[in-house]
């Protein structure tokens, strides 16, 4: 689907990113949209975790995202540490039409902040906004008749049937945004179906990732970038994009 594992040929920065969130909020769909700009209405649930990669150009720098898309069901929770260890970025996804999914997202954030790489950049993404913004989804009719089931999954398309799209929204943007601010997270509302807001997540994360640390550590032959940035945990996670650019030129020239 994505670029194959060819990281060694091109000088790019590898960023390990993990997606977390309740089942059926659309984690895999977000990744699919980002990686291959596709949308599958009935995406199979992820078992364990899926792995995809995507390159992302930021100014003159190439980032190679290694994306770990995890299973959402509660009982897979205990496997998650295996996937988020050494991750430099995390996208915690919830479903704007399901209030409980934000609660689950909060526990994920809490866990990441305590257990994961201390420098990890966390983004909070409220998915499925096509279900609550009338213009976005009315154009796509769906042959399915299973309203309930579809609303609950990552398969929008029934919006038109409900007549009053805004009523589907259970998580006000303001509430989630306030929480994100308080917890120090990047915040987005997205639709994997329409593609709205998806690329932005990854761009903003790219800006916030301490790329130079990763570069410096990998150049030093220190092995895994995640471990390296973990070691330099004292530094502030947020790095200005401009700063990056100036420094990265030197880094790139070698």
């Amino acid at each position: 689907m994505a670029d194959a594992a060819s990281g060694s040929t091109e000088r790019s920065v590898q960023v390990k990113l993990v997606l977390l969130g309740e089942a059926a909020v659309g984690k895999s769909s977000i990744v699919l949209r980002f990686v291959s700009n596709e949308f599958q209405p009935n995406k199979e649930p992820t078992i364990g975790a899926a792995f995809l990669t995507q390159k992302c150009r930021l100014e003159d720098r190439v980032l190679r995202y290694e994306i770990w898309d995890t299973a959402g069901q509660e009982r897979f929770h205990s496997l998650a540490p295996m996937y988020y260890r050494n991750a430099q970025a995390a996208v915690v996804v919830y479903d704007v039409t399901k209030a409980s999914s934000l609660e689950k997202a909060k526990t994920w954030v809490k866990e990441l902040q305590r257990q994961a790489n201390p420098n990890i950049v966390i983004a909070l993404a409220g998915n499925k906004i096509d279900l609550v913004t009338p213009s976005a989804s009315s154009a796509s009719p769906s042959p399915e008749s299973e309203d309930e089931a579809d609303d609950a999954t990552a398969t929008p398309g029934e919006t038109t049937a409900s007549g009053e799209p805004e009523s589907l929204r259970q998580v006000p943007r303001e509430e989630a945004e306030a929480y994100a601010q308080e917890a120090g997270l990047l915040f987005f509302e997205t639709s994997a179906k329409t593609g709205e807001g998806v690329v932005e997540i990854f761009t903003e994360i790219a800006k916030k990732i301490p790329i130079d640390q990763i570069l410096a550590s990998s150049r030093g032959g220190a092995g895994r970038p995640g471990a390296a940035s973990g070691r330099q945990g004292a530094q502030e996670g947020g790095v200005n994009l401009e700063e990056n650019n100036t420094k990265s030129k030197d880094a790139c020239s070698c």
Binding site: A5, A24, Q73, R75, S78, S100, E146, E148, R224
Partner: protein
């Protein structure tokens, strides 16, 4: 919010018998629960009740050496092996456990004949339902063979009486193989089949079709099939060579039985290896996995469980709904309502039947896959077998089975492919990131479906073929037999890709490589070979080949021992993960540190191990819906019984600890105390009125008491007893409060606390009365107005005053009370642990609770005989020292009493255990202070040093009844009562006359007192000096206490 599960610890190694049952895929507890109405040989079934019991008892299991040969055809070789009678099944496995085997329900046996062959040969000819005859020659000694035959006869009779024979005919009609064979055979053959054995004639009258299907004259077309019949099977039938496969199978099934009577000869396995024909696949899966027997034994169960639970929703059904449209969505059936609803019903039925497992993602994919080949009912039972027996623990909430096999897999890779393993270690790649989905979804969504289904064919069949080695005794392992080929397969995948794997640098590349490999399975394995035959070999064939040829070294035994090795590790990591999660999910730690919260969790976990909370019975959703979203998630809450155990872990007065020495060992017997105070505390902490406490409730509750200072403790204690929270205690509540205090003090040595409580009561009532509001203008000295026992009586201020009036109580509330709550690490071996790590198993065998009890009782008996047995109850507070002893705010201690005190003060400590347990009961039943203490005037341990303290003026004028009380219960001080010392005390419990004798002894040996003691006895008040001299003379002191009574 989190759930705490202890069931992982309840794992038990399967017994030999269970392993055999698993090997032959016998339904569990077939003859345990089924209501047999038949009878044994000496009972003709007249008395139903006893007959059932008798029949169950008599249907013995037995195994015997035998040689199997196909009776009629004689095409096959004979195979030596073992014949197992496990009513209602007869099973056989050849010696190598892989070549030949069968599992026959007894009801498919139409006739058994003893063959009169040459002398010395004992052979039975069995005519089976499908007209085949098999001959088993029993090669054991004659008496054994006779016994086996009689057991077989009994078991067959029972089956006949149960009418099971009649169920066979309608059942086999649901199997496709019948149609297959019937179509292929000449009509004459069919008749022969039906008329074959006269013994099974009853089957012809089988009119009722238990499967609920309509009994049409064209019964042969009734077979059950999957969605594939309507929506097409995946793959190109031509490419799959369906026709020729079907033909081969038809031949095999005609000669070797089918469905219930299938005999598995080597050819069967070979046929399976090349892939099952689509139409037959479902039935063969059923037969090979043994789910066929479950369906046979439980007709109508599937419909019933669906009907019973119709309309029910729970977490599982919600989760199922989410995934229905996401299960093999590319297959056309799952784009239609028909397929979706079939999938929904199967998954729901499973979750209703197995609420503990419920629904796990990946089950939807598995269920969707098997539904292509089989009907809902068949799929339901197959799913049951897969989740329960073949992949135990894979889909459970903790997924421990998955994690365990991941660990085993890793260790196998280490063993078989060390180069790859080392490389992975070096670049820090975890195998399980890729292999976990393979395990969980049986490759169905990892590789092209056509190949995945062929792997599943092998999964249901190949284990025995590849793995069971010659000469294995019955101690082989059945549980894992299906796992083994898969592990081998996985290992093979790694092996084939070995060179490339050595180049990968991280997890991502690893997964990519695997994905590419799976996608190319249909390609030629040797595309550049000049030999066209080699070019024709696909990568998939190569994979199977390598799997089963090169990794035959991975045996069941290996897997079993690896699993044993890692099981405790996995359990431990799951438990510590849930501990971390539980702690993380707390809303607040209150004032505890993380470590302390961890200790609380440990205590809670242990309590749950000992006393599992009742199954989660959530109140109706209407009651549960709160604004707090987090509350909606399932959470472990403990009931009162578990709470008592929990509290006994943390709180010294919530347990009774008896220190028992019997000359051999010294141990502490700990019992969980029961008292109203504990129950009261439970409801006090249950702030959300659920009748159950969560981990958070416990943390908050403990916080409310463990960090208190004097005033806070007094207030806390007051609130605890103020039932209606109106700020006043009633008279009854004052009494209850006193009882609570007495309960806490029940094991304290000496009478100091007892006295304090009785003083408290008299003071309380005196003050309470004095402070009661009087009618306007009434004489303040007049009789106080009477007040009902259940009316508000005493407020906090008064209570505080009364408490502070007594030094003992003051010091109790100041420090002692809080310190009775102790967070101490729970010793590991105290937790009931059945985990089977090497040591764990050993420890469990040797030191099982029962064994320990027996050992303890044994040594106690010996101890008693040799007069060394001693029981001593450890006090809850136990920090009481002479220095803090109330120099009594007592004015009532008269010189005469002093003598009493000194006389009784040497009473042996052994009196305590003998009498103490009765204390709470006797005292709680009394209603006033005086009777209270009077009941219990037995002085307990103290030393001579306590005898005389200069009385101090009492702050209150004690009531007369209190004075009377004082006379009888002088305060005794125990200065030898440090924890260390307790254990050293040795006295004979049994001696009733000990008190008098001790008194006599005291008088006679007065001169034996040391300087220090005499000083003390004379009332020297410079306590520090006394203490130091006491410790200097520690030996004498102990001698004094330990002195044997003079007889």
């Amino acid at each position: 919010m989190s759930t705490i599960s202890t069931h992982l610890r309840n794992f038990k190694e399967p017994t030999k018998e269970q392993l055999t049952q698993l090997f032959f895929a016998l339904p569990p507890s077939v003859n345990g629960v089924s209501s047999a109405s038949g009878s044994g040989h000496n009972n003709t079934g007249n008395s139903e009740k006893s007959a059932v019991g008798a029949a169950e008892a008599e249907l013995e299991k037995m195994e015997i050496n035998a040689v199997l040969s196909l009776g009629v055809q004689g095409e096959e070789d004979s195979y030596a092996g073992k014949l197992y009678l496990y009513p209602p099944y007869l099973a056989f496995a050849s010696l190598d456990r892989k070549s030949v085997r069968f599992t026959l329900p007894l009801c498919t046996i139409r006739r058994v004949e003893r063959l009169n062959a040459r002398a010395g040969i004992y052979a039975l000819s069995l005519s089976l339902w499908h007209g085949m005859k098999i001959v088993v020659q029993l090669t054991s000694l004659r008496p054994t063979a006779d016994l086996f035959c009689s057991l077989l006869r009994d078991a067959l009779k029972v089956e006949l009486q149960k009418g099971k024979m009649k169920a066979v005919k309608p059942f086999v009609k649901t199997c496709y193989s019948e149609l297959l064979v019937a179509n292929a055979t000449a009509p004459g053959n069919t008749e022969e089949k039906d008329g074959g054995g006269g013994g099974g004639g009853s089957s012809k009258s089988a009119a009722a079709t238990d499967d609920g299907g309509p009994s049409s004259p064209a019964a042969d077309s009734m077979y059950l099939g999957g969605l594939g019949l309507k929506f097409k099977f995946p793959g190109d039938p031509k490419k799959l060579r369906e026709a020729s496969k079907t033909k081969l199978w038809t031949n095999y099934l005609r000669t070797h039985g089918r469905n219930l009577t299938l005999l598995r000869y080597p050819q069967c396995t070979r046929l399976i290896q090349v892939g099952l024909p689509n139409r037959l696949r479902g039935e063969m899966w059923e037969t090979l996995s043994g789910s066929l027997y479950l369906r046979f034994e439980n007709p109508g169960f599937y419909e019933k469980i669906l009907a019973e639970n119709e309309g029910r929703t729970n977490t599982s059904t919600e989760e199922i709904e989410k995934d229905l449209h996401r299960s093999l969505p590319e297959y056309s059936a799952y784009q239609s309502e028909e397929g979706i609803s079939a999938l929904r019903r199967v998954l729901q039925a499973y979750s209703f039947k197995n609420p503990e497992t419920g629904y796990c993602q990946a089950m939807n994919i598995l269920a969707a896959a098997i539904l292509i080949y089989m009907s809902e009912e068949q799929a339901f039972w197959l799913l049951e077998v897969v989740c329960d027996r073949l992949l135990p623990g894979y889909y459970s909430p903790s997924m421990h089975g998955t994690l365990l096999d991941q660990r085993v897999f890793e260790s196998l890779v280490q063993r078989c492919l060390p180069i790859i393993h080392d490389h992975f270690q070096e670049v820090d790649v975890q195998l399980s990131v890729a292999s976990l989905p393979w395990f969980l979804s049986l490759f169905i969504n990892s590789m092209p479906m056509v190949f995945a289904f062929r792997i599943i064919d092998c999964f249901f069949c190949m284990g025995p073929k590849v793995l069971f080695q010659v000469g294995w005794q019955i101690g082989f392992v059945g549980v894992q037999r299906m796992i083994v080929p898969r592990l081998i397969l996985f290992t093979a995948i790694l092996k084939i890709n070995g060179e490339k794997l050595l180049q990968i640098q991280d997890d991502g590349q690893f997964i990519h490589l695997m994905r590419e490999y799976f996608a190319s399975l249909g390609d030629s394995a040797h595309p550049n070979s000049s030999d066209p035959r080699a070019r024709a070999i696909t990568r998939f064939q190569e994979l199977l080949l390598v799997s089963f040829r090169e990794f035959a070294v991975i045996t069941d035994e290996t897997i079993q021992s690896e699993r044993r090795k890692y099981r405790s590790e996995i359990v431990h990591s799951i438990e510590s993960f849930s501990k971390r999660a539980a702690i993380r999910n707390l809303r607040t730690f209150e004032r505890f540190t993380k470590d302390q919260v961890g200790l609380i969790y440990d205590a809670l976990f242990k309590a749950i191990c000992i006393e599992p909370p009742p199954a989660v019975s959530l109140p109706p959703p209407s009651l549960l819906t709160t604004k707090d979203q987090a509350e909606e998630r399932p959470e472990t809450r403990i009931g009162l019984r578990t709470f008592r155990v929990f509290l006994s872990e943390i709180c010294t007065w919530a347990r009774t600890e008896k220190i028992v020495s019997n000359g051999f060992q010294q141990r502490i017997d700990r019992e969980v105390a029961e008292h109203e105070l504990i129950d009261r505390l439970f409801y006090f902490w249950d702030t959300s009125y659920r009748g159950a406490l969560s981990f958070q409730d416990l943390v908050s509750g403990l916080d409310g008491v463990m960090f208190n200072d004097l005033m806070e403790n007094i207030e806390w204690f007051f609130n605890l007893h103020d039932k209606n929270k109106d700020g006043y205690l009633t008279k009854d509540e004052v009494l209850t409060l006193s009882e609570s205090l007495l309960f806490i003090f029940r094991h304290e040595i000496g009478d100091a606390y007892l006295g304090a409580v009785s003083r408290f009561m008299s003071n309380a009532f005196e003050y309470g009365d004095a402070l009661l509001p009087r009618p306007e203008g009434a004489d303040p000295d007049s009789e106080p107005p009477t007040i009902e026992h259940n009316q508000p009586y005493m407020n906090l201020a008064t209570f505080r005053m009364v408490v502070l009036a007594d030094e003992i109580l003051e010091s109790f509330f100041e420090t002692d009370f809080s310190s009775t709550f102790r967070l101490e690490p729970v010793p590991i071996q105290d937790i009931p642990n059945t985990n089977t790590g090497l040591l764990g198993g050993l420890w469990h065998n040797i030191a099982s609770d029962d064994n320990r009890k027996i050992f303890n009782r044994f040594t106690d008996e010996i101890g008693k005989t040799i007069g060394k047995h001693q029981v001593y109850t450890r006090p809850a507070i136990g920090k009481y020292t002479a220095l803090e002893e109330p120099k009594a705010r007592e004015s009532l201690l008269t010189p005469t009493m002093r003598r009493t005190a000194s006389k009784s003060s040497l009473t042996s400590p052994s009196e305590t255990p003998a009498n103490d347990p009765s204390l709470p009961t006797t005292s709680t039943s009394s209603s006033s202070g005086s009777t209270l203490s009077a009941d219990k005037s037995e002085p307990t341990v103290s030393s001579a040093t306590s005898a005389e303290f200069s009385p101090m003026p009492s702050m209150f004028h004690a009531a007369a009844n209190a004075a009377a009380l004082m006379e009888r219960t002088p305060f005794a001080i125990d200065d030898a009562k440090d924890d260390d010392d307790e254990s050293d005390i040795e006295t004979d419990v049994e001696d009733d006359g000990v008190m008098d004798e001790v008194d006599a002894f005291l008088e006679a040996h007065d001169s034996g007192l040391t300087e220090a003691e005499r000083e003390l006895a004379q009332g020297t008040s410079s306590s520090t000096a006394v203490w130091s001299s006491l410790s200097a003379h520690g030996c004498e002191r102990i001698d004094l206490i330990n002195a044997e009574p003079v007889k």
